[in-house]
Subunit: 340 residues, 2 copies
Amino acid sequence: MPVPYNQDVRFARGSPFMLRVGYPSAISAELLRDFPRQVELVSIVDGLDGEIEIEVWIPDPFPTRAMRVWPHLRGVRLVLSLLAGTEWIPAVVGPHVTICNAHGAHNGSTAEWTVAAIFAMLKYFPLYLDIQRAGIWKRRFEAPAHYAAVTGDQHPHYPPVMLEELAGKTVLLVGYGAIGQEIERMLEPFRVQILRVARAARVQPTVYSVTELHALLPRAEIVILILPSTEETRGLIDRAQLALLPQGALLVNAARGPVVNTDALVEALRAGRIRAALDVTDPEPLPEGHPLWSCPNLLLTPHIGASSPQFAPNALRTAAGELRRYLAGEPLRNVVQAAV
Amino acid sequence: MPVPYNQDVRFARGSPFMLRVGYPSAISAELLRDFPRQVELVSIVDGLDGEIEIEVWIPDPFPTRAMRVWPHLRGVRLVLSLLAGTEWIPAVVGPHVTICNAHGAHNGSTAEWTVAAIFAMLKYFPLYLDIQRAGIWKRRFEAPAHYAAVTGDQHPHYPPVMLEELAGKTVLLVGYGAIGQEIERMLEPFRVQILRVARAARVQPTVYSVTELHALLPRAEIVILILPSTEETRGLIDRAQLALLPQGALLVNAARGPVVNTDALVEALRAGRIRAALDVTDPEPLPEGHPLWSCPNLLLTPHIGASSPQFAPNALRTAAGELRRYLAGEPLRNVVQAAV
């Protein structure tokens, strides 16, 4: 027997309800104005007790909260995730539920994080922020040796090199979906050479097959990982792949942590072989005392790449589109698991 | 009577010498290969004793070193600076010497620093680097209050906002010379609205006169300063101008320190009114204990925006062009002071 739930009656609008959609109560009701009129919106509070009967579930973007809610839900046939990555959902909801992601909603913010992370590393901002925190006007050539060593300046420059330019660099883009293409668009003014890799080779533009990755890594001054986390891509970047990178190469992970072997990455960073910028880690969250925290030449952000003010509006607009199609009996656009 | 100097005979090449050009010995001779054959290259060591007779002087890019050398030079008629900013030179060499800057050589690197600094601040990288250094997986909403407070989120978001997007922001570009235009080119993919300001108003594209600055500041979410340091521009951004900026606006100084009133900036930062990213300060270098070091919501780099591996090659290519024109009796291109 369903217990009372926190239903927002402002959304009734006098239409006959056809579809009950549960959403996290923390999301502002303002953002749900684009939802179809036939939808009955069911606000789900964190720490929910009892049971709720809904056909469509919009889970909280924080998986731990969403997982607390799931055991209280009944009748869910469709999950509309607000995120691009949905890897925790199938194991929780099982195979009899259709799962859609928020394809496209976070392309811009994730691509911007990637460009920002590349620039922060090429301009040595972690070094300069450490210097700023110490409050002493110093430059790179006066800084701890590991900063200068990793890029392996072959010819000592005068004046000393205190940052790098993106212009002219060779960028290996591993993953050429919508976000990968958005990153390429954003890199356009910076005159980089882009090498593209995806599961299957393509032409116009040239996209290499991931089976050719080993041949491309030695040319990559910057490697951007922006591919889905699947069983196939788990550990794609391991010891052997890192060893193929040129000295001082920058590895940027804007995808998911398990795409990179963390132990191998820690070794390569500690050895001063490469640099890295990560928005995702494996494990995640990264526990206190994990060796990654103290690796040199690393920028680590706590999986925040898409979390801009545009996050919720964009993702809910995408969800509204799926709801309209669902009500009309049309095929859904962003299905990542079809119910069996 | 000139004393012996450290002359690099590899550059004699059998041509009759017509022009003696002094350059800092620390610059690799490789980089001088494009210089005209009629030039006699005179390598000037740091800590030089005695006198050197040269007609053209390429000063060390570090002003303190260059100023140590000047009293030992005789016969200088032309100074070719490797930098865009030459503000220390006229007072040192006097009015009877022509001074050229390295116009254009550092446009790309300076513009890149500007884009990098904007992104670092919008993505809250200083906050996330502090979190990384502490080694505890936290996000913005769990961070010290001054990080969250400055941007003044009017409507609390869910999920919490952990970075901002550049897309859609209004950018006020103060200075629309070659570097300003390069910055605009680099911002093109990010869908910002650009308001341009220069000394004189222009059309196509619309450039406002600096006299209209007060009317534009209230619209500026990001202000980029990239204008020359002159008596006219000293203190251009003072208390009154900072007070016109919207809450949480980002001030980026890629020009010269004195363009901003430092005391007013410190006040605005401490009050949580605005954010800033500075590659230049006033005074410079910033002394230990200066209040700017500990201001919140600030990224401060020690005047390194142009110091990339391309710095010396680009600047010396520009100098080589001026030398060719000087030898041919043609007008010089980048004169910032004509000899009287």
